[in-house]
Amino acid sequence: MEPRILQVRTKILKANDTLARQMRQEFLSRGIFVSNWVSSPGSGKTLWLENTLRQLIDRGLQVAAIVGDLETDRDAQRLERSGACVRQIMTHGLCHLEADMIRKEWEAWDIGPIDYLFIENVGNLVCPTSWDLGESLRVGLLSVTEGEDKPLKYPGLFNTCDVALLTKMDLAQACEFDQVLAIENLQAVRPGIEVFETSGKTLEGMDLWIDWLENRRKISLLSNP
């Protein structure tokens, strides 16, 4: 008997995508702007996020963060120094966060009204690419110590980002980092991407970043009343 073919044509991550879409709608309806931060390990995500949280709190905004790591709650402890509410997800070997992990954490969290929820993904330039976490903004970070060609080597991840942060700019000269080339490479894989040059040590770029972020939050909430 000849084999027969059953047509399926279903997205492999359909379950995750459906949940993420529901979560995004729920977050926005509650006035919460969610961002998902992705980068390689050691790119300076946690320091820049800690500074971001502190700056937003200083502006009178309510902020919270969920941070993913394979092991330890060290990053959660660092982010808590800002005064924000923080939850740590330990993935115990899993290389990325999934929408259901965020949902479970969120539902178990007794937290008051917030304006921002930041998700610091597991440090990895490959695996988090395909998992929508219900965010309204995906932030990709690239440190000067990694080299200008990272976007070309990992186009999948950078292609999914809405904004890119060049971090550790205080080390740019020592690393002979060519930011023009780095931006060209980012634009090659994600045309039109907004790029900020930043330093967690000197706070270079912080005011511009916070103003931009606030603007994005307001536009997002206005578009989803």
């Binding site: 279903t10 492999i12 991550l13």
Partner: protein
């Protein structure tokens, strides 16, 4: 590593569609998937993960056929789709 999560989702979709079509798991002989050029999936790792998941289950006859699509016009670069399931109906015994 994330290939194991992807293989698990593939298997769930196969189970769902096979069940809806009243197809026995042991009759599923192949699963066809398409991956976009920037889907960040390592094919051998996905094959190994799928095999590991289905071995010693009713789906162990199923092989995974992966088609990578480099043409951006054909599908989105990050897209990952289960396209079809091949079924070999077992002969009825008299």
């Amino acid at each position: 590593m994330h290939e194991l999560s992807i293989a698990n989702e593939i298997l769930k979709i196969v189970q769902e569609h096979a069940s809806a079509a009243n197809v026995k798991a042991s009759d599923v002989t192949a699963v066809g998937i398409r991956l976009g050029a920037w889907s960040c999936v390592q094919e051998q790792s996905l094959q190994n993960s799928f095999r590991w998941l289905v071995d010693q289950t009713p789906f162990e006859s199923a092989r995974l056929e992966i088609q990578r699509i480099d043409e951006v016009q054909e599908m989105e670069v990050q897209e990952m789709i289960v396209e079809w399931i091949e079924i070999q109906d077992q002969k009825q015994e008299n």
